[in-house]
């Protein structure tokens, strides 16, 4: 069994490792540019950035903004989504609004965000929350609507009032969909925080707003450190993966009744 796993792992690793080696060789012998990034330099840069604490700090700053934006968006989306999923009249009046705003990219709100909130955390949290809101509300509505009506009838025949049914039947029933929404929402939130910080960094001229996106901007605009930019890109991917796997774990723990 272990041999099967290790041999399949080996096969899966052949192509990426081969490409890395090729990349290294091409840069070492094939280009005159001293600035071109190559794997060994990227590892060195990563080591330095982690050692100095700059990279962890930037990631924590960005992640904090993602959480702040996600928190307000999720709270609003849960309340509105539950209402829209329950009451047809609310659904009819809000749905066109939600659907038309949904097609406006989060980054398109950047000028407004900067004008209203400046270049700090509130602007970033606003954009991130805007991005997170839509997957969250769409899935909440779907989840609430797909709760088995028979379960609601069962609760009613047990003499339970409507508000308690919302809390004890509708929300738990919608929870699997809400989790899907949360996973998608945190994904787009993390994507848009980088874009937001890049742009905010550009406007502020590299001021002290922090975050991973801004760190990339500094590498791009000031020190022209392509290895550093690649370190940032890789860390962004790694954090996204950690967020997704963490939420899957949380989901398994919170929904033990889902096979």
């Amino acid at each position: 069994m272990t041999r099967v796993i290790s041999s399949s792992l080996l096969r899966a690793a052949v192509l990426p490792v081969g490409l890395l080696v090729l990349w290294q060789l091409v840069v070492m012998f094939g280009t005159p540019s001293r600035r071109a990034p190559m794997p060994t330099h990227v590892v060195e840069a990563a080591w330095a950035l982690i050692g100095s604490g700059d990279l962890p700090l930037a990631l924590i700053q960005s992640f904090g903004r993602v959480l702040a934006g996600f928190a307000w968006a999720a709270a609003l989306a849960l309340v509105l989504g539950a209402l829209m999923g329950t009451y047809r009249a609310v659904d009819r009046s809000l749905d066109p609004l939600v659907e038309s705003f949904r097609s406006i990219a989060p980054i398109a709100l950047l000028p407004l965000a900067i004008l209203w909130f400046g270049t700090g955390t509130p602007a970033a949290a606003f954009i991130v929350g805007y991005a997170a809101f839509f997957p969250m509300i769409v899935n909440t509505i779907h989840g609430v609507k797909s709760v088995d009506p028979q379960l609601i009838r069962a609760a009613r025949t047990l003499g339970v009032d409507r508000l308690t049914i919302l809390r004890t039947v509708v929300l738990p029933g919608a929870l699997p969909y809400i989790f899907v929404g949360a996973r998608l929402a945190l994904g787009v939130a993390w994507t848009s925080i980088i874009a937001a910080e890049l742009a905010v960094g550009a406007k502020a001229g590299g001021g002290g707003t922090g975050g991973i996106g801004q760190m990339m901007f500094v590498f791009y605009a000031y020190s022209v450190d392509l290895n550093g930019i690649i370190v940032c890109m890789i860390s962004v991917g790694v954090v996204a993966l950690v967020i997704d796997r963490g939420l899957r774990r949380l989901e398994q723990w919170m929904l033990p009744w889902k096979r």
């Binding site: 028979q150 009838r153 025949t157 339970v160 929904l255 033990p256």
Partner: protein
């Protein structure tokens, strides 16, 4: 034969009608017409009939989940205008909460019911009692998906009972089970209903089934329905002594009654089958 108190019926249906409007054509169809029925206190009443005769509609109206188009439904002389904890329902598909364990499902009514004032310790005692009664010991912490059909059925039954209803409404509760499990649960149902105990401690049961032998085995009286439109064809009293024993199924009286009811609904059952 047992005598039941005729004086004050537990449930009274008078001229109950139900019409449905087809959403596409706007055409009105009469699902039930002019149902008059008294269900006596402590009675085990079965309703049989061909598919589409409106059995389930009657049950849903008694449960307060569906409003009649005309006529009146009363419980203890008071009109029924919505669901209430005094009328417990056991659904055909069990309708257990998938995210709750056996224990939590049974606890649901006593815990979340409007105006329930049970302390946690009383609630635990009650849940324990009903878990013992339906023999689900050892499955307390299992989720519905981990249970067999028979166990789900017992859990749904215990959930309804734990809410302490006066009237138990059961909609083809054994339909989805295999034959052996069904027979065992029929006997268990009579035991839990209190067949061997004092008569005035029994709950009133309205039990819907398409199994004629099931109805004869369980019921004090059987309402035989016809369809198109749904109506009562005949109400048969079952004269078999209680407690009912499995060997009674083979008796001449039992078989005669089954045959009689089968004759009543046969033509319509055939018609319904051919149409479907």
């Amino acid at each position: 034969m047992e005598t039941l108190n005729d004086a004050a019926p537990k449930l009274r249906l008078r001229g109950v009608r139900k019409e449905f409007v087809l959403p596409r054509t706007g055409e009105r169809t009469v699902a039930l017409e002019e149902i008059d029925l008294d269900v006596k206190r402590g009675e085990f009443l079965c309703i049989v009939g061909p598919s589409g005769c409106g059995k389930t509609t009657i049950l849903n109206m008694i449960a307060g989940l569906t409003a009649p188009t005309g006529g009146s439904l009363e419980i203890d002389g008071k009109p029924i205008d919505g669901p209430g904890a005094e009328r417990g329902v056991v659904f055909q598909d069990y309708a257990l909460f998938p995210w709750k364990t056996v224990w939590e499902n049974i606890e649901f009514g006593p815990r979340y019911r409007k105006g329930s004032a049970l302390a946690k310790s009383q609630r635990d005692e009650r849940v324990r009692h009903f878990i013992d009664l339906v023999a689900l010991n050892g499955a307390e912490n299992k989720y519905p998906y981990e249970l067999s059909g028979g166990m789900r059925q017992r859990c749904a039954f215990a959930r309804a009972l734990a809410n302490d209803p006066d009237v138990l409404l059961m909609d083809e509760p054994f339909a989805a089970l295999d034959a052996q499990t069904r027979v065992i649960l029929q006997e268990e149902l009579l035991r839990i209903w209190g067949e061997t105990g004092a008569r005035d401690e029994r709950r009133t049961v309205v039990f819907i089934t398409h199994g004629i032998d099931e109805a004869v085995f369980l019921a004090n009286r059987i309402v035989v329905m016809g369809s198109h439109p749904g109506r009562i064809r005949e109400i048969k009293t079952v004269d078999l002594p209680r407690p009912r024993k499995p060997e009674m199924r083979a008796s001449a009286a039992f078989q005669e009654l089954v045959e009689h009811i089968w004759q009543l609904i046969r033509d319509e059952a055939y018609a319904a089958t051919v149409k479907a």
